[in-house]
């Protein structure tokens, strides 16, 4: 009996630890996305000067990151528990979540294929990307205090 309890406890610990890694990894990806987007937003706000080469570099990094998102690997069932702001809706509406990921991939791919050459174009591009972030966060993310 003692052994069984121990085995169960160990298993529980192991799964939490496994999810902790998955959660930390996906958050790290999101943080990198935020950094790349930040480079662009700073230009839009006039905090840094417009720089076409830097725009392309940031868009390329963002797009490479986004194309790698794999819902099954990064959002396994049960990983809404723990130090995460992932909403249970991800698992209640997997098709809806996948659609947001696909949209995200399409938007960043389109941006790299046609990177902004001036500030006005960049404003529009950042607007479209920001909208994609917000739409997914609106439905599939929840702050837990």
């Amino acid at each position: 009996m003692r052994k069984l309890v121990f085995a169960v406890a160990a298993l529980a610990l192991a799964t939490t630890a496994a999810f902790a890694d998955v959660i930390a990894d996906r958050q790290a990806v999101m943080k990198e996305n935020a950094k790349d987007v930040g480079t662009l937003v700073k230009m839009v706000k006039g905090e840094t000067p417009f720089d076409a080469a830097a725009v392309l570099a940031a868009l390329t990094a963002l797009n490479n990151n986004v194309q790698k998102i794999d819902v099954a690997a990064s959002f396994p069932a049960g990983s809404d528990k723990g130090d995460t702001t992932a909403s249970p809706k991800i698992w209640e509406d997997p098709a809806g979540f996948q659609a947001q990921v696909d949209k995200f991939k399409a938007v960043t791919a389109a941006a790299v294929a046609n990177p902004a050459q001036d500030l006005d174009a960049l404003k529009a591009q950042v607007g479209a990307i920001g909208q994609t972030c917000g739409t997914c966060h609106e439905a599939f993310r929840v702050k837990k205090g």
């Binding site: 939490t16 999101m30 943080k31 935020a34 950094k35 987007v37 930040g38 937003v41 839009v44 706000k45 528990k81 723990g82 130090d83 702001t85 909403s87 249970p88 920001g130 972030c133 917000g134 739409t135 966060h137 609106e138 993310r141 929840v142 702050k143 837990k144 205090g145």
Partner: protein, 317 residues
Amino acid sequence: MAVLRKLAIAALALGGAGAAAFWWLTVPEKLGAETLAALGTGDATRGQRIFDAGGCASCHAKAKSEGDARLQLVGGVELKTQFGTFVAPNISPDAKDGIGGWSLEDFANAMLKGVARDGQHLYPAFPYTSYARMKPADVADLYAFMTTLPPIAGKAPDHDLAFPFNIRRGIGLWKQLYLSDEPVVALAAGTPEKVLHGRNLVEGAGHCGECHTPRSFAGGPENAQWLAGAKAAEGDGVVPNITPEGRDMSGWSESDIASYLETGFTPEFDSVGGTMVEVQKNMARLTAEDREAIAAYLKAIPGRANGFSGSQPKPTG
């Protein structure tokens, strides 16, 4: 036997007095002559800003409307609460199904007193507890703008509420507790105009307290915990503390706040989420001065401990 009779009469009298008090306390009260005079004539261009600040389209247009559809106020958005489900009505200028027949006075009574044209109480799911703090002139501007919108036919479904919440008269008691046009945060004489303007936008049209302030058991705002954050109305999330003691707010400058309201990005370039997305889109439509005023006010109000971490501590893991 005589004792019993006396008791019954006493109970009846008491009950009668209670009913009379209930009747008297719950009479829908309309605006006084002074406020009505302060309405003025109204300016539709200025009114568009109030419309955006007030987020009217978020509830009264079809869910997720963009572009021109935001201006078709046909109603139908459902609001799920602990009291039942409310459905936002048609407030387009349609004479039959909307509020096309309403005068400015009727409209102002709804916005500032929560009283409908037929004299009945409106439910505070329509956030007039906040709108009551708007300037009368802003209400007139909003009215002028709303009359320029397209009339749309069609009634939204009725609310789905359980007894006793389906009795409008009872809202009168609620109003005794929570309806006031006094500012929530008293600001000292000599407070900069910018902060006062921010207070007007946040406490009034912006109705930020409806989500960011915790609610009492009766569903009213706990103003001692003004903007301190609250449990979300739906789901198990929280709405953050946006007083200067909020976890994020304590590190954000005024320009960080204004920029968040404009772009939807935090200083770390995280993106806005949840129900704040709709609000942020509306904030992006205001002027830079308006957003800066809101930011200045949020920095000027008293800091409060988190309003959502009250009763049950959240288990982690």
